[in-house]
Symmetry: C2
Subunit: 97 residues, 2 copies
């Protein structure tokens, strides 16, 4: 029995560790989205030159960047959602230990 | 006496209006500084390309932009301080009416 309890505790510890590592990945993706969103909002305010570096920016190029950034934000949100599902699965596994 | 009171009220109203217009100029300069500070912070994080539009940015050009932005922020802060002094002067004038 002692060995069984020891194994279960070890299993629980490993799952908590896995959860923590996924949570920190989620934070990295959220951080990246904050940065990309900031750049996108700056561009949306811009006319024909970049508000950060002042170089010329054709409307076509600006709109392409805005689309690229929007797509990247959505991709990151999908990754974040998958990781949040994974966190929930691990929570269920911990409960069943 | 009635005329005198009427004139003082009018004088006070004009000074309050002048104060309001200076306060809104101060807000514009503060707003501009918020924008410039944002661009400067983005550039400081950048390596060799602009974090907003992705175009290449030589270290020399980047540092020049950062210096220009810092100078602009200081100039705006000086203008804001002068306008705040003006507000105080008007407050004194209103008290002495
Ligand atoms: Zn740029």
């Amino acid at each position: 029995l002692d060995r069984k309890i020891k194994d279960i505790k070890e299993e629980k510890r490993k799952k908590e560790e896995e959860k923590e590592s996924i949570l920190s990945e989620i934070n990295e993706y959220k951080g990246q989205n904050t940065e990309i969103l900031r750049a996108k909002q700056e561009l949306e305010k811009a006319a024909d030159k970049c508000p950060t570096c002042g170089q010329t920016l054709s409307v076509t190029h600006k709109n392409k960047l805005i689309r690229d950034y929007s797509r990247k934000i959505r991709e990151n949100q999908n990754i974040i959602s998958e990781k949040e599902v994974k966190i929930e699965e691990i929570n269920e596994e911990i409960k069943r230990l």
